[in-house]
Subunit: 383 residues, 2 copies
């Protein structure tokens, strides 16, 4: 037996936090705003459960996050259940099994908390917040563009500054390297070199492809320059399909969101395990963490789909604070209709629970800027 | 090795469900409405995590739900964590450890999902939805009344019909039986008889108290009749404290919510493990399940507190359906400002992703009631 250290009742497991006032309200309001934008564009909300059977949650697109997932046993069936680390596979499951007969394009939205076993890359949080959309059925640049435009509208509504969308096409790199006909060993070294953006190693392992690969490695940057480089290099037809799709998607996004900041990294593929088309990562100026990510993939039953998940918890760090309700103290005996009128006018009222000696002092103590005197709100610190 | 039966990918563990359109939206909108009412009365939102260390989550008021709680091991600390079955103990912890210096009365609100290991009594659901308030610091009838009035306002805002609040005072029964000086064995039998509302058994085990107990057993019903019976019987001073507090709370509630339907059951105590004062259960006509429950208790560090937790998932079954956004189809080439104006006017727009042969047919297929023609929305099935 060992002596456990004395337990601190305020301690939470690493990566879990209490959101306090006013952050908790700001995060909830942020999620509501995102969901309102999604709903206005015809995205219908679905709410999958926090837990599912492991077999369902971690199959298909869910397999990518299997090792990040907490499991527990269902005492009723003795089957293993998993706490969701991501909602996208759940929404794909719902589209395939609950809504197979709803006409496509099927537009779905979702929001909720997710749990990761180890801390999320970057901030170490193990409970994260997601709010996203999936557009299921169509396989067109316009569908990818609709998703990016939605995210841009969300972030503009929350007045996040300096937003940029980084586009990648992981299948392009794979197709290009496949076209080179490398043996498995060399291919592995080349992919690692590309992943690390190590031009010298790409030169060493890339054979005849090396000049093209290095040129594309250096092409990463604002969309138009990167697309011009892609257009200028000589690509096999199997690769050209992907670069053409990427260019068409950029054009469709720019048609919808004039002035959007788009960058393209033609040979980036890291972290996109189940994506089949254009992928996007969302950043804000001065914010190290991604505000969201998404892309094109094959949903259950190989149905084409694209989606994007925003992170309300991260977005709130980049968004200006929300205006709070001004608090008004209602001294004992204030008529109920006075309080009701103030609440209808957007104030938060704080009621006395008994006759107070000094209403202004009570108001001040309870962080009220106003106090009702003779039926009207007046500044606590006024004359 | 055994052969597992083929696994159905649509299967969820018992007690877990997918909320689909339009129920998912209705539930989220219901939660938002509740939280807006709470915020308007000065209740500040806190958002505790889904998981905590077992020691923290299941101590104090949390002990009552310990056996309903899923546990998992934190791989980092090897300590056991618990998935919350109830948010009230978390809010009590936050009040005591994170907000000890915020002046009292401290008003906090919260909303989120909780997980029960076995199905909840009644509907068998293992993921439930909570939205509630805690009023920490004061120990006055006016505080209890504020909580009940808030719940009444919430349900009126959601237009739930036939709402009633059932008040109990578990400490009254305990004090009365304590005053009888029974030995432990007889006391146990008497408490069980009262729990079962078994008048014959109360007669058998109640000794000199039997006539009072049976009279109170029959007094359960509309508040005024029950309080009149309580006032008429001869109660020891230690019991009179509780009946007087109950009567004062009823008066304070009625002063705030004229016409509220209140019932009182003076000798009910089942299911209130950690409550020290007036307790309340909320029902709606024709709805077997409770819409909410709450009461007075001692929070961490024995700080007086009262609170009430509503169940948005149950409330939505009793509330009339929300009006949905009308869906408008935007044919390919619709000007962006036409869509934006419709969304600002409360419509949901559904954009074409390419040139459609028949816009009306596409609109009908995607459940749109309106379609934009010449820049204006017209009925899909109109002339």
């Amino acid at each position: 037996m060992t002596d456990d250290p004395p337990f601190n009742p305020a301690l939470l497991p690493a990566g879990f936090v209490d959101r306090l006032p006013p952050e908790a309200e700001a995060e909830a309001a942020g999620v509501e705003t995102l969901m309102r934008v999604f709903a206005a564009h015809g995205y219908d909300r679905v709410t999958p459960p926090l837990l599912e059977f492991e077999e369902t949650l971690l199959s298909g697109s869910g397999a990518a996050v299997a090792e990040q997932t907490f499991r527990l046993m269902d005492p009723e069936t003795r089957r293993m259940m998993a706490l969701r680390p991501d909602m996208t596979p759940q929404v794909a499951r719902i589209a395939a099994t609950r809504l197979p007969d709803v006409p496509r394009p099927l537009r779905l939205a979702y929001a909720g908390p997710c749990i990761l076993m180890a801390g999320n890359r970057g901030d170490g949080e193990r409970q994260i917040s997601q709010a996203g959309v999936e557009l299921i059925g169509p396989d067109q640049p316009e569908a990818d563009a609709e998703i990016v435009a939605l995210a841009a509208e969300c972030l503009a509504t929350l007045r996040v500054q300096g937003v940029s969308f980084d586009l990648t096409m992981p299948a392009l790199t794979t197709a290009l390297v496949d076209a080179g006909g490398f043996d498995a060993h060399v291919r592995g070294m080349l992919m690692r070199a590309l992943d690390r953006k190590d031009a010298a190693a790409v030169e060493r392992h890339g054979g005849e492809l090396a000049p093209v690969l290095i040129r594309l490695l250096h092409a990463a940057g604002p969309a138009h320059g990167a697309l011009a480089e892609l257009a200028a290099v000589d690509l096999p037809p199997a690769v050209r399909v992907h670069s053409a799709r990427l260019a068409a998607t950029v054009a469709a996004i720019e048609a919808r969101v004039p002035g959007i900041r788009l960058t393209v990294d033609p040979v980036e593929f890291r972290g996109w395990q189940y994506h089949t088309g254009v992928c996007v990562t969302v950043y804000a100026a001065g914010q190290r963490e991604e505000l969201g990510r998404g892309g094109r993939y094959l949903s259950n039953n190989d149905e084409p789909a694209c989606g994007l998940t925003l992170r309300p918890d991260i977005i709130l760090r980049a968004a200006p604070p929300l205006p709070c309700r001004t608090r008004v103290f209602l001294p004992w005996g204030t008529l109920p209709e006075v309080g009701a009128a103030l609440r209808a006018g957007g104030y938060a009222t704080v009621s006395a629970l008994g006759d107070e000696a000094d209403a202004r002092a009570a108001a001040r103590r309870l962080s009220c800027a106003l106090v009702v005197v003779d039926g009207r709100p007046v500044p606590v610190d006024g004359i």
